[in-house]
């Protein structure tokens, strides 16, 4: 999809006005949090389990290349083919030429964020290869021509009526308000595709270094089909998907499904090690595992920013985020939405193109507290802001406006000294009392007006906390 991250403000405003969507979002957030909490409560020691998951992800990322090597070695031993792609174009080119070479004209696809990142489906379509998303949510948005609203629930924002309209157009069915009926129409349609597809394309939730296996997590069974009926299975993964051992994978699985949907385990988990063995009637003749970099090795070079690679794409950070639960997924303007999207999209696209994403945050830290992989998203957001001011070209940040930079310098200078800070805060209070009407500041002049366009700014109290704390007539400062 063409990035629209530069339109963040506009898209956010547009989405905020969609009251139906906001209702769905607040419901979604409430339900998911309750499910998540119940799911985690079923663990013998919730806190220890979280700690362990974070520890696994931290050491995995620290030793990433060595684990990738081991994964590759064992995957090859099991008969899989491993392909390394530098960027989106290379990945698409590989899958496309493979499909052509093998005479594939029908593809079934499981959900893969990597394929969204590379726009693989459009490329296949342009080459005349019929390709279907088979996860119900993805199938709906493919036919509706929309982008994923959420990492795990790509169509959760759509009403039954909207889905019904998409299906009457595409499948030629009678309009219905039963989600079950709609699902069964999709089932019948896709069953034929599963039966006849020449290639199955999936992502990979984990890649186990110890055994060379990939692990796929789902509820519908579409991924099981995609890895069973076609002659060729192509699994797409980015470099950070690896885990050291099967034991670690089992632990991460518990955290992943609980964070995704609150389930103790998803309905289906497939552990795939190589293509089918001799004598087996189904399963692919060939398994290709494509490992994509697409800018991640560059992120890896930075000790702070590389934390983003720990993410296991559970989508929980979106459900607990006060920003996401108001503006929804579309405003993030690209593949990844929610807090993880607010840091990952800028890192993958370049800071200039997505600069508003990591500024639109309350820094409340809910995403960090809930994250089963230990990604410090607020910390990374602050780091990205600093890099923006430093005009870090390697991250795609250009020189910030001179005035802004000067302002930040001034601010830093003020904050570094107590007496300067005191003077500044006195000046601020003086200025705001001049602007205030009936205890509120209704509008600020010039470039500051953004602070008051959608709400009144409060007037600071006449005395600061410091003054109250140590001033005469108050309790003495404890020594």
């Amino acid at each position: 999809m063409i990035p629209e991250t530069h339109r963040f403000k506009e898209l956010a405003r547009e989405n905020l006005l969609n009251t139906e969507q906001r209702k769905v979002l607040s419901q979604f957030a409430m339900i998911l949090r309750a499910l998540r909490d119940a799911g985690f409560a079923s663990l013998p020691d919730e806190k220890a389990a979280m700690e362990k998951g974070r520890e696994i992800r931290a050491r995995t990322i620290e030793s990433l290349p060595y684990l990738l090597e081991r994964f590759e070695k064992n995957a090859l031993k099991a008969g899989a083919k491993v392909v390394w792609a530098k960027d989106a174009a290379e990945l698409n080119e590989f899958v496309l030429s493979l499909a052509r070479e093998k005479g594939v004209n029908l593809c079934v696809k499981g959900k893969s964020m990597i394929s969204e990142e590379t726009d693989l489906r459009d490329e296949l379509k342009a080459a005349g290869i019929e390709t279907y998303e088979t996860d119900l949510g993805e199938f709906i948005i493919q036919q509706a021509g929309r982008t994923p609203f959420h990492i795990v629930g790509p169509a959760i924002n759509m009403t039954i009526d909207e889905v019904s309209r998409v299906f009457t157009d595409f499948l030629g069915i009678q309009k219905t308000d039963s989600p079950e009926e709609l699902a069964m129409h999709a089932r019948r349609f896709l069953r034929e595709k599963f039966k006849n597809a020449g290639m199955g394309i999936t992502g990979a939730n984990m890649a186990v270094a110890e055994t060379g296996s990939i692990i796929l997590v789902e509820n519908e069974g579409n991924i099981r089909y995609s890895t069973t009926t076609p002659r060729i299975h192509v699994a797409l993964m980015s470099i950070e998907k690896v885990v050291p051992t099967m034991e670690d994978a089992a632990h991460m699985l518990k955290l992943l499904t609980r964070s995704c949907t609150g389930q103790k385990i998803s309905e289906y988990v497939s552990i795939i090690t190589g293509p089918r063995k001799q004598g087996e009637t189904d399963g692919p003749d060939e398994l290709y595992i494509v490992i994509l970099d697409n800018g991640r090795t560059k992120i890896y070079q930075d000790r702070v920013l590389r934390g983003v690679l720990k993410c296991i794409r559970c989508g929980l950070c979106a459900a607990v985020c006060p920003i996401y639960t108001h503006i929804g997924g579309y405003a993030y303007g690209w593949v990844y939405s929610g807090p993880i999207g607010a840091v990952l999209n800028p890192l993958l696209l370049g800071l200039d193109k997505a600069r508003d994403l990591f500024h639109a945050t309350t820094l409340c830290g809910a995403c960090r507290d809930y994250c089963p992989a230990g990604v410090d998203i607020p910390g990374i957001m602050l780091e990205l802001r600093a890099r923006m001011m430093d005009a870090d070209r390697s991250l795609g940040a250009s020189e910030p406006p001179r005035g802004l930079k000067g302002l930040y310098r001034l601010w830093t200078w003020v904050l570094l000294d107590v007496s300067r800070y005191k003077v500044a805060s006195r000046l601020m209070r003086l200025a705001s009392s001049l602007l205030a009407r009936k205890g509120k500041i209704k509008s600020l002049p010039g470039r500051l007006s953004g602070w008051t366009t959608s709400r009144d700014a409060p007037v600071p109290a006449p005395r600061t906390f410091h003054e109250l704390y140590s001033g005469p007539g108050q309790e003495r400062r404890p020594s």
Binding site: A78, G137, T229, V269, E280
Partner: protein, 221 residues
């Protein structure tokens, strides 16, 4: 695209900033003693979990009882055609003759892939063995092989799995230990199945039987 060159570039770049692993690269294989398992309690837990996931668990007293229960399920659902796995376990139970005696057609699984697919997509039910059952999540585990193909438990609307009672394990960790301890090569595919296929992608409303089976029965023998 030059995959080998990419591989070198990616790994070399990562290595400049990585640390060599100083942790276990092998799963720890501590197996809880089998004698200590309380099968009654494990079944209780399994049953609760699979019901929550929309499936059904049945504990049969013996082989004859299992066959009786199986027959009852087939009759109740009005199943006319089935596909069956060929593992030792289903053979031991003598399922073939039972199913045939109930007037149900067993669709033959040919080596030819198209014919085999046809059978699986047509059959009303798939009857398979399973290698493990996990008590805490209500999951059955099938390690796929020549004798237990992948589609049998996926394409038909009803899936009935027969599991040996002593294959009830507490959880996924103990199962992983057991699989890894075999020391042989991993099977090409392992499916962990927890109840019927499910989706909540339309308006968060749960619907069973999205792509996989609508009904899942697990019969312990």
């Amino acid at each position: 695209m030059n995959s080998d060159m990419n591989r070198k570039t990616i790994l070399d770049s990562l290595k400049t900033y990585a640390k060599r692993p100083r942790f276990r690269m092998k799963s720890r294989l501590r197996v809880p003693a089998r004698g200590k398992r309380d099968l009654g309690a494990l079944f209780e837990s399994f049953s609760q979990a699979i019901v929550a996931a929309g499936g059904t668990a049945i504990m049969a007293e013996n082989k004859e009882d299992a066959l009786k229960r199986l027959k009852a399920i087939l009759e109740e659902l009005g199943i006319k055609t089935v596909v069956m796995s060929k593992d030792r376990w289903t053979r031991y139970l003598g399922l073939k003759s039972l199913v045939k005696a109930s007037g149900i057609e067993i669709l033959e699984l040919k080596k030819d892939r198209e014919q085999y697919k046809d059978a699986c997509f047509t059959a009303h039910a798939g009857i398979t063995g399973a290698d493990y059952a996990l008590a805490d999540t209500g999951t059955i585990v099938i390690t796929h092989s020549e004798n237990n193909a992948r589609l049998l438990s996926l394409a038909p609307e009803t899936h009935i799995a027969l599991v040996r009672k002593d294959r009830l394990f507490p959880d996924i960790d103990t199962m992983v230990v057991d699989i890894m301890k075999e020391g042989e090569t991993m099977p090409s595919a392992i499916s962990l199945i927890t109840g019927p296929s499910l989706t909540a992608d339309i308006a968060l409303q749960p619907t069973y039987g999205m792509h996989g089976p609508k009904r899942v029965y697990v019969v312990f023998v």
